[in-house]
Symmetry: C2
Subunit: 244 residues, 2 copies
């Protein structure tokens, strides 16, 4: 079973996932995510740090094959830039053919960040990982250009890490070829978690130094409005499409 805890807050974990966690004999996942699950006596916790996804998937399938009730723990939704695809891919290997795999969905980070400022993803949008670890940067750049030219809002996962620092600046410059300088950009960091911060800046002012691996970015379309209110900036993209 591959599950998603939702972002940060336990208030965002669905009852279905909570039940699966309670019934599991074994939890597999990144230490950070496993640590979000309250310990239960008799439950084995296989927390890993830097292991590659396919190895973690194989470990989970092996445990399940030997009779364990395994839950692979992801943050957000497990099907969005997370473990579900890796487990599915690994499970296609003939040695796991008798191991049933189920995915339980979760609240994905883009929707949580969006909710904090209003509804920037209220109209057509794209979900793009900025990581060029598993795909060449030209593919990332091509996709950014395509959705920017088609005037869709964009949620950016994995914008940066301690090793990957130039992609956010490259993305900003590329998007400025299609979007106005004052296009609203939402920076949501650790949303739902103890160190949550959410800010809205203009695209031209997006500073890569403000973005780390715990940040999710939402870039508005031409129809995205940012309105200052007494309780902070509200951002929304109307479902009504006005031609420019």
């Amino acid at each position: 079973m591959v599950v998603g805890l939702g972002p940060g807050s336990p208030d965002w974990t669905t009852p279905e996932v909570r039940e699966a966690l309670n019934a599991a004999t074994d939890l597999v996942g990144y230490t950070t995510y496993i640590d979000r699950v309250p310990p239960r006596p008799g439950q084995h916790r296989h927390a890993s740090d830097n292991r590659v996804e396919s190895e973690r998937a194989a470990m989970a399938l092996d445990l399940a094959k030997r009779g364990a009730r395994v839950v692979v723990v992801s943050s957000g939704d497990p099907g969005v830039f997370a473990m579900a695809a890796a487990v599915l891919e690994e499970s296609a290997d003939p040695q796991w053919q008798d191991v049933p795999v189920r995915v339980l969905p979760g609240l994905t980070a883009a929707n949580a960040v969006a909710s904090r400022v209003g509804a920037p993803l209220g109209h057509d949008y794209a979900m793009i990982s900025l990581s060029d670890r598993l795909k060449p940067w030209e593919v990332v750049a091509q996709r950014l250009s395509a959705v920017a030219a088609a005037d869709m809002a964009i949620a950016i996962y994995n914008p940066a890490s301690s090793q990957r620092t130039w992609q956010v600046g490259a993305m900003r410059d590329l998007l400025l070829e299609h979007r106005k300088p004052d296009t609203p950009v939402v920076l949501g960091r650790d949303v739902g978690g103890p160190t949550e911060s959410v800010r809205v800046v203009s695209l031209v002012d997006l500073d890569p130094a403000d973005v780390d691996m715990r940040t999710l970015l939402i870039i508005g379309a031409s129809t995205t409005a940012a309105v200052d209110t007494p309780t902070g900036t509200r951002v929304y993209t109307s479902r009504r499409y006005h031609r420019r």
Copy 2:
């Protein structure tokens, strides 16, 4: 407060949303969504059928202004092709300036449908509404072409209704200019609800007659694999990007 129940199943409603529903004095929303909330003595239910979104938003803001604890109820995530943008847009009117608006995120239908077959949205993807009620079809067509050419998976909201029947066929023909005929397409209908059905077909075989307003479609990318298993077809899009 604008909340999302998640799709169909109460098992997908977050604890945060459940708490907000319990604390509300007034619920506002489509009859179908209001009917999913267990009745509570003393709570007023303003179920509407065909009213336009902005009127429903104004009604909710008016109730809140007069002191009610109002919850606007959406299915899925309220920020995704739902009520949040409409409420935010309406709340920008000066008469509502003192009414605080909060959005509580929910599990969106695309992630729920994806989980039923594996992880077809495991890599970059786009979320597009096929409705041309609020935007011209040329905009829809341009966005479909852009993301299809950029080889992203696509989740399609509002593919059809009793009145709108030609869009699915037009979309299929347009996507076939960029995608192979055997590209997997997931048809999820009433997912999480009592009449749930999920099927996987090839793009070339997508029959508009099988799609109605309760259906969500997921169209694979070139990297999306469909594998037949004893428990049904599993579909996933690897995070590893292989060039064609």
